[in-house]
């Protein structure tokens, strides 16, 4: 608090570097994360394009691509080693360097202090440090494309021994080492920013901002950050152990008697399953770290466009808590066919499926928030509705995969690919777009173009849904994931037509994102000037200027008198009362 209470005048004296590059202001850091994440998304999308070109047209000669990537497209056709590197890096970049940066760290940084009524994060210097370590980890990851053997190629899950032995796959040379270093840096950074968010929510809330008055966005970041703090350290340990296995001759994950390329290795006594347990102990909570903020954001955007409070606020908060607790004890559902005890498998199956209870309640609460509302179909609303839709279809896929018996057939097939793209791909992507369209006026003081935004929605949701919905059924037909081509198996021949259709939808989806990037860049410089509260919303960030000044709330901190969903009331400003409106002017209803 005291460190954050710098007056704006003092801030103006800081040079450009301290204000915009090595800044400790949470808003600048949030925007830095968002821009970094969007740039990484461009790389991730380009990789997705290469994947879809390969799966749609497996034997095609790509002259242009062989000029761009002489090694990856030797002879004009993508090589299997390049394909595996591309798949691995696409997954890693999208999960850790796009969604985590933009949605979790970016919007988390930007929104949490504003929405709790603080002048900055609890630890501004730590915040700056976490961003620059995150930036470094992105650089290390990108660098891995350019080393001997290419980028890591063992999948984003990096299962040893494939990821531990350099001779197993070309990407397991220096590329995998850089991947692990990048991951360790990422986790260090993410732990710092998570700690910061938890501390901020605990310690620097404005007067009157009780926990029961926090917007669901803040609740979701709060729970997600606690999950991150609990779940990430084991993967840091695992990453270090795998680095030691690779370079220091240890055998944490390597049993004795390994023979790779006709050479007997001198490993002994380790277990490949240990990595899987450690990885998924992080990996499963990690998906909730990404999903929960998406859900929280959707819950806060919906009421601004239905003009009524969210349905079941208190129950939704408890659902977030319940999901957080359950997410820590279900990791084994990624390992039903791994050779783990079948009794353990059934335990993981049963607890996994209990997650459907709070998640269904939360989803229906979002749906019921539309009940009786007056819907205003602006661009953020379109994407918030998409969050609900994908959360439904993605969640239903979870019923199949959480069920050990059904998973025996579906594990490691395209059903899984379809499922997680709907959830940690789609729900989070739609929420990211919703958040950008919704808070862009607050961040930059300008409004994004409505018509371009709507065109972007129409080019995005349908193709996205079609691609990943169809992938579920390719999986049901038995197509394994991470296949370079579906040409070698008789039983997969007929999936080639589906893959072509999926690839064409992917081209449409990717092309539509150009509308977003044009709109984003053009609106930054030439968008219509935004008012402080263009959506007539109630949370604290809308009570200050657009963009908010250094220190967020001009000369005095806000005092909070009510919950975050005071819509549909009679108030001097219209049908809403922001959280600072005192009870004497508008009665408090909750």
């Amino acid at each position: 608090m005291s460190t954050a209470a710098l007056p704006d005048a003092g801030h103006a004296d800081l040079g450009f570097v301290r204000r915009y590059i090595f800044s400790t202001d949470h808003k600048v850091i949030g925007i830095q994360y968002i821009i970094t994440g969007l740039v990484m998304a461009l790389v991730g999308v380009a990789l997705a394009l290469l994947i879809r070109l390969q799966l749609g047209w497996p034997d095609h000669q790509w002259t242009l691509l062989s000029t761009l990537f002489p090694a990856g497209y030797a002879g004009g056709v993508m090589t299997p080693e390049f394909y595996l590197a591309v798949v691995t890096m696409h997954g890693t970049i999208m999960v850790f360097f796009f969604i985590s940066y933009v949605l979790v760290s970016g919007f988390g940084n930007y929104l949490v202090p504003l929405q709790v009524g603080a002048r900055d994060m609890a630890f501004p210097f730590l915040n700056m440090l976490s961003y620059w370590i995150a930036f470094l980890s992105a650089l290390v990851l990108i660098a891995s494309f350019f080393v001997e053997g290419g980028a890591a190629a063992a999948g984003w899950t990096a299962y040893p021994p494939l990821s531990a032995i350099a001779a197993a796959v070309p990407g397991s040379q220096l590329g995998q080492t850089l991947w692990l270093l990048s991951m360790a840096l990422f986790i260090a950074s993410f732990t710092m920013s998570g700690l910061n968010i938890v501390a901020t929510v605990f310690s620097v809330r404005a007067p009157g901002m009780s926990m029961g008055r926090l917007p669901l966005t803040v609740w979701s970041y709060f729970i997600a950050s606690i999950l991150g703090l609990l779940a990430f350290p084991p993967l840091t340990a695992a990453a270090v152990m795998l680095l030691l296995d690779r370079h220091a001759g240890t055998s944490f994950f390597l049993p004795g008697g390994l023979v790779v390329g006709n050479q007997l290795l001198s490993t002994s006594g380790g277990s490949p399953l240990l990595w899987q347990h450690l990885f998924w102990f992080l990996g499963h909570p990690e998906v909730y770290v990404l999903i929960l903020p998406a859900l929280g954001i959707a819950c806060d955007i919906l009421p601004a466009f239905t003009r009524k409070p969210v349905f079941g606020y208190r129950i939704s908060v408890w659902c977030l808590v319940a999901v957080g607790v359950l997410s820590m004890i279900v990791w084994g559902h990624h390992m039903f066919v791994s050779g783990m005890s079948p009794f353990t498998g059934e335990y993981f199956s049963l607890v996994t499926l209990t997650i459907t209870v709070p998640m269904t309640i939360f989803g229906v609460n979002m749906l019921a928030s539309l009940w009786g509302g007056t819907i205003r179909m602006r661009v953020p609303m379109m994407f918030a509705l998409s969050v609900i839709a994908l959360f439904g279809s993605g969640g239903f896929g979870g019923l199949f995969l959480g069920n050990a018996t059904a998973d025996m057939q579906l594990h490691d097939t395209y059903f899984v690919v379809g499922h997680f793209h709907m959830m940690i791909g789609g729900v989070t992507l739609m929420a990211t777009f919703a958040a950008i369209y919704y808070w862009f006026p607050k961040m930059f003081g300008r409004t994004m173009n409505e018509a371009l935004g709507k065109a972007h929605f129409w080019g995005t949701f349908g193709p996205f849904f079609i691609i990943f919905f169809m992938q579920h059924f390719v999986g049901l037909e038995g197509a394994p994931r991470r296949y370079y081509a579906f040409t070698s198996f008789d039983y997969l021949q007929h999936t080639r037509g589906t893959n072509l259709a999926i690839s064409i939808s992917a081209m449409v989806l990717i092309a539509a994102q150009a509308l977003f990037f044009v709109n984003f860049c053009w609106s930054l410089v030439a968008g219509r000037r935004a008012l402080p509260n263009p959506w007539h919303a109630t949370t604290l960030e809308w009570t200050t200027a657009s963009p908010p000044p250094y220190g967020n709330f001009a000369d005095r901190e806000p005092v909070v008198h009510r919950w975050a969903y005071e819509y549909g009331v009679e108030a001097p400003e219209g049908d809403f009362a922001d959280q600072t409106v005192p009870p004497r002017s508008v009665p408090v209803t909750v």
Partner: protein, 274 residues
Amino acid sequence: MTPNTPRQILESSLVALLFASLGFGGVWYGAGISMPDLASRHGAGIDAMMNYLLLTVGVLFLTGYVALAILIWRGARRRAIGARLASRRTELTLSGALGVGMALIAEGGVLAIGIPVWAEYFDPSPPADAVVVEVTAQQFMWNVRYPGPDGVFGRTRPDLIDDATNPVGVDRADPAAADDVFTINEITVPVNRTVRVRLHSKDVIHSFFLPHLRVKQDAVPGMTPEAIFVPTREGTFEIACAELCGLAHYRMRGFFNVVSQQEYESWLRDQGTP
């Protein structure tokens, strides 16, 4: 707030129609797709589990998407909000009903249909006359070994492995090894008899996947998990690798021949020892 203009109502209606049509289209598309033709006994249980899920989830999915569409359609035409806050009682009743309903659908499915199949597949006491086959996966092939007439596998040692002459490292000094039968990428078993596939891996993790027999089991170095199942249909079925194992993962293909008991016996006789 001013009411929506006709154009805004039209736009909202289109969004509603988008969700509704994806809901109906999705169910229509999914209904036309089936899993590879079944060829194992426990697989019937897996298919029952899958059909149960496809049916319940299909209904829930369609209901959800249609509800979303209707709420949008009606909300866009409403001039003033119809309901502001639900009572605490309404909220709790709805959540309670949903919680119980979903618990019954999701957990009920596992308990009633799933666990019996799981128990059958992980049978702790398979019949004594089961056909035992050892499969040692490596980049990028399946080394298959039968114990031969003595019913005992010869000892193996990793240091004896040589890809050209002794791919699984059999110790020829062991008398039990003398009659072991070896094949590559080809497993032959009799129909309607329990098969125990004992899985090893020499190098990285592979996954032994028989899509038609609903069998999938990772082959993990250092572990020897078994897949136990009963083929119920004669034919040749493909074996795929389902765990990323390197460059040729996508064509790590084998064949699983299910033949009559007589054919199996004559096939086994015809196999020479290495």
